[in-house]
């Protein structure tokens, strides 16, 4: 259900770029990290025991698929997750919130039955 909603917002070209970008384990890991916290390319290069240039290439592929956004800050290139993706996270957490609201109400019912 979500797939349809999300996919229909992208063109075929965009979808191809996204799948290509995420086909690599290092790139998937970079996305996960910078979604949680912004990191510079040099910080990422240290994490993966990779050259600055190699990480820069991975980031460029991710940025091409709009999965991450690059920003220059002085001499550093900062990388962070795309807000669009964060909005998707918010939507999914909303769904999960319903599960807990339902559970809390069910607990309240059990507690009130015990009263009587």
């Amino acid at each position: 259900m979500y797939n349809h909603v999300v996919v229909s917002q992208f063109t075929d070209d965009e979808i191809d770029r996204i799948f290509h970008a995420l086909a690599d384990a290092t790139r998937r890991d970079i996305v996960t990290r910078v979604l949680r916290q912004e990191e510079s390319i040099s910080q990422l290069a240290r994490r993966y025991d990779m050259s600055f240039a190699a990480v820069q290439k991975h980031v460029a592929v991710l940025a091409g698929a709009a999965l991450v956004v690059k920003q220059r800050n002085g001499r550093e290139q900062l990388v962070h997750g795309n807000p669009e993706v964060l909005r998707k996270a918010a939507r999914l957490l909303d769904e999960y919130e319903r599960v807990w609201r339902r559970r809390a109400d069910a607990i309240a019912d059990i507690l009130s039955e015990e009263d009587t």
Binding site: R101, D105, L111, E114
Partner: protein, 162 residues
């Protein structure tokens, strides 16, 4: 309505829910500790849960299944990571195969529950944390497919009941 506030952190992938109950902390603790009480609220009405195993101790395992409208079963497991009765419980919750063993590559939810006295009642805070957006998405997708999460109308009905 039991839930008084919620907070979502989209970067840390956490959901915090605060609920208040008109019952003492010890009684609210029992809905977690006693499997017969627990299974009355853990699953949705259309997918009631049955806990076959409930080792309510640090390092303990729980095994449960939820039974769908057509008799199909969805199995799950808990591993309890912290307990401080009757105030704090932490556990991981995941998907299990037919033998009750955890399924690799399936979403795991890290859950932390705390109970505090609030007047004559109890304030319960649950924090759920996901390892990745992929896992969160997979969980929600599966929930939608199997009807584990309620449809919009059902929620409204619950809210209307107050």
């Amino acid at each position: 309505m039991s839930v008084i506030s919620s907070h979502k952190d989209t970067e840390a992938l956490t959901l915090t829910i605060v609920a208040e109950f008109d019952a003492a902390v010890e009684r609210v603790w029992r809905v977690w500790e006693d499997p017969r009480r627990l299974e009355r609220w853990w699953g949705p009405p259309t997918w009631p849960a049955t806990f076959e195993r409930h080792d309510f101790a640090v390092g303990g395992r729980c095994a449960y299944f939820m039974t769908g409208p057509d008799g199909e079963r969805a199995r799950g497991w808990w591993r309890i990571t912290a307990i401080d009765a009757p105030h704090r419980l932490e556990f991981d919750d995941g998907f299990a195969d037919d033998a009750g063993e955890p399924v690799a590559d399936m979403p795991v939810i890290h859950c932390a529950v705390s109970l505090e006295p609030n007047g004559s009642g109890t304030r319960m805070t649950t924090l759920s944390r996901f390892d990745s957006l992929d896992q969160l998405e997979k969980l929600i997708e599966m929930g939608m497919e199997e009807g584990l999460t309620l449809a919009e109308g059902q929620i409204d009905a619950l809210l209307a009941e107050g």
